[in-house]
């Protein structure tokens, strides 16, 4: 039974995935402290590792057409275990939504509005997300098409405007990275921007042509990953060693744009970018949470749950991390393991489904 009457086309799915991945374009920058000038390498390797995982997600949804994650869990794991697993997933989506919201409001508060209390930004932002989620997936997909084009356009423009400030020597020496740092970097890159598309397992049933899901997801991942790569390359080339100490290198490198003293102060563009991309990410996570709960409790429609869940997400974002330093610490050290569990489980689900020869 469909919880949602909307249908999205596969190209809209591609843009939705790309926008979702781009939501972490600024958050991914904190791997700079770990990987120093090799972040671009780690982006590439993270992308390489994520593509097989994405293929697993698509295979899982192809095996059970028209069913979302909670239903798949129910078929594969039986009625009781699946409730636990699905509840854990829903909690995961909810926490990540809160985490992203916290990051966004913290950045806006630091750079634009230092005196505004955090919850005001959170609440305003969540209101918009709630309105979008309430109106259904079609709205989300359509807006993401436009937003992704804007985001990519801005990333490319800032890249070209900074070409004259780039120094290739900032990338040397090649391959001086220790294996441990490389693995840690790849792990962070894989789990943070790329594999959070596990939430799309809740949304795949609403794509109209199921056969084209694979192409859309891979293309979306590549577009998103490519943009993150361009962004990272630009930051490392312009800021050099200094990018390892910065909290938000994208904003700082765009601050340096100064073309004939007319085109300056473009960092507002980057912050707007963050806003738009994070909007897509939080909305999709929010939507996944709401759909999951509705499916778990066998409800007829998810719309009524939107507002309470929104309030819970706001509360979560307020109490999760007290400071950006703490959230950075979590995200580089323990976060990857925590998210890896959830992002890897669909592989286990697929294996169990294959062994049990489901669906019969």
């Amino acid at each position: 039974m469909r919880l949602e009457k909307g249908i999205i086309s596969s190209s809209q799915l591609m843009f939705l995935v790309a926008g979702y991945v781009l939501g972490s374009v600024l958050v991914a920058a904190f791997t700079n402290t770990v990987t120093k000038q090799y972040t671009w390498l780690v982006v590439l390797s993270g992308l390489a590792v994520s593509i097989p995982l994405a293929l697993v997600y698509v295979a899982l949804t192809r095996k059970f057409p028209g069913k979302d994650l909670v239903q798949i869990n129910r078929i594969v794991y039986g009625p009781y275990l699946s409730k636990l697993v699905s509840a854990l997933y829903i909690w995961f989506f909810c926490s990540i939504a809160g985490f992203m919201l916290a990051y966004l409001s913290q950045t806006i508060k630091d750079y634009m509005m230092p005196e505004t209390p955090l919850f005001a930004i959170c609440i305003l932002f969540t209101c918009i997300c709630a309105w979008t989620v309430r109106n259904g997936i079609e709205v989300l997909a359509r807006t993401s098409v436009i937003f992704v084009m804007i985001i990519i356009f801005v990333i490319l423009i800032t890249f070209f405007l900074l070409l004259k400030d780039m120094e290739l020597t900032n990338f040397l020496p090649f391959f001086d990275l220790s294996l441990k740092d490389f693995i840690q970097g790849t792990h962070i890159m894989m789990t943070l921007p790329f594999c959070e598309i596990v939430v799309f397992l809740m949304l795949f049933p609403y794509v109209n042509k199921g056969v084209e899901t694979k192409k859309s997801v891979i293309l979306g991942l590549l577009i998103g990953g490519g943009s993150i790569l361009i962004d990272t390359v630009r930051n490392t080339a312009v800021l050099g060693v200094a990018s390892t100490i910065m909290i938000s290198p994208s904003i700082e490198s765009v601050r340096l744009i100064d073309l004939a003293e007319i085109i300056t102060r473009l960092e507002m563009l980057v912050i707007t970018l963050l806003l738009i991309a994070m909007f897509i990410k939080v909305s999709v996570m929010y939507y996944g949470t709401v759909l999951g709960i509705a499916r778990l409790c066998n409800l007829r429609s998810y719309r009524q749950l939107v507002l309470p869940i929104g309030s819970i997400i706001v509360s979560l974002s307020m109490m999760t991390f007290d400071s950006l330093a703490q959230s950075n610490d979590f995200a580089t050290r323990t976060g990857p393991f925590f998210t890896l569990v959830f992002e890897f489980s669909p592989v286990i689900t697929l294996l169990v489904a294959k062994i049990r020869k489901l669906p019969k």
Binding site: D110, M112, E115, T116, L172, A242, D258, R265
Partner: protein
């Protein structure tokens, strides 16, 4: 009917949404901000204290008729220098609210001036505020001044109404002669963060007396980590800039080959490349420089348009460039600070050997050998070929 009302409501809501876009919680009204254009740090009398001077724009005075009000005694300046003393830059900045009715607004800051005596004690404690604070930008120019920064910020010249903007443009204009580097905060930070490369900054001083005060940029300040250890004069600075690929222009005089006066050659383009080579027990740095120039003037009367003479002039030019570089190298060796970035270039090419060298760089650096390879071309001789003298029979 209902449709129309709905439609009008939607349009109205759209318009109303535009109103809060400029933000209302953290709003800074324009007339409650004072724009800081220059910051100077000096040593204060009490040990450990510094004096911070910020130059703030008085927008109303900017529109006054001409900038040449040096002659008028009580000519209202378009700026106001506020000075305060304290231990840390950050608390002094907040202290300014005791004197200034407007909140200081830093994003338009153009220069950061450090007094030489303060720089000799170490810049790290004071420069951190300007890196960490969110309002300050990284393309601020860093300058070291011989005299007190508050004096330097008080010298108004004929061309600009605001001394800070004057200083900023002055430092940028050094590219014409390439005898002083242009150092932005981000470049300074990059050198500070490197373990071996030494930061540099242009030096500035006040010349003249009374109403005739002007500023002069001369040479470079050389640091070791964050303490000032020495300086390079103009010629040595250009040698340094040749090596780090920052020469954009300049004038070099060579003796004319027939001994008849000197020829002034103007550099139009320069490119340099540093390649380290680790040999058995020494380190060799190969520096390749390609320069292009044109003849600007000659004080003799021979016809320099012949290829042989041009060739010999090119060789003389290469020799001069070599001399400038060696002069810079000698001073750097005496001061034992790696301003050229030799250490970093070794790190880029030989990362594994660098790990061993890093610790002893202070001993290794003075023994580093340098091999120069300079290639110059004189593209043109200017407007005329032979000088404006009667033709030789």
């Amino acid at each position: 009917m209902k449709n129309r009302i709905g439609f009008i409501m939607k349009i109205m809501v759209c318009f109303m949404l535009i109103l809060p876009i400029s933000g209302c919680w953290s709003r800074h009204e324009l007339n409650s901000l004072s724009f800081v254009v220059g910051v100077g740090l000096d040593k204060a009398e009490k040990p450990g204290e510094i004096q911070l001077t910020t130059q703030v724009v008085k927008p109303g005075e900017l529109k006054s008729s001409s900038a040449k009000n040096k002659s008028s005694e009580s000519g209202t300046n378009a700026y106001w220098n506020i000075k305060k003393t304290g231990y840390l830059a950050s608390e002094i900045i907040k202290d300014f609210s005791h004197e200034s009715s407007h909140k200081l607004y830093f994003p338009h800051n153009q220069v950061l001036i450090f007094e030489r005596k303060l720089a000799e004690e170490g810049m790290q404690p004071y420069i951190d505020t300007f890196i960490r604070d969110i309002e300050t930008r990284f393309n601020v120019l860093v300058v070291v001044s011989e005299d007190r920064a508050s004096e330097v910020l008080d010298v108004s010249t004929g061309l600009e109404k605001l001394p800070a903007i004057n200083i900023a443009k002055l430092v940028e204009t050094q590219k014409i002669t390439s005898e002083s580097p242009t150092v932005k905060l981000i470049d300074f930070i990059r050198r500070l963060m490197s373990k071996t490369t030494a930061p540099i900054a242009p030096l500035i001083r006040v010349t003249g007396e009374g109403n005739e005060k002007t500023l002069e940029v001369f040479g470079t300040a050389v640091f070791k980590h964050d303490k000032l250890v020495g300086e390079l004069n103009k010629r040595e600075t250009r040698g340094l800039l040749w090596v780090i690929n920052e020469v954009k222009g300049g004038m070099i005089n060579v003796a004319s080959s027939s001994g008849d006066g000197t020829v002034s050659l103007e550099i139009t383009r320069a490119k340099s490349k540093m390649t380290p080579v680790i040999q058995a027990d020494t380190i060799l740095i190969k520096i390749d420089i390609k320069a292009e120039g044109i003849v600007n003037s000659q004080s003799g009367s021979e016809n320099i348009a012949s290829p042989d003479i041009v060739f010999s002039l090119e060789k003389k030019l290469s020799a001069e460039i070599g001399k400038e570089i060696m002069a810079a190298l000698k001073t750097a060796r005496d001061l034992n600070s790696d301003i050229f970035g030799f250490g970093d270039s070794i790190y880029w090419k030989y990362p594994s050997e660098w790990k061993k060298l890093k610790m002893k760089w202070d001993e290794v650096f003075p023994d580093v050998e340098v091999a120069l390879n300079i290639d110059t071309k004189l593209r043109s001789t200017g407007n005329i070929s032979a000088p404006a003298v009667p033709a030789k029979e």
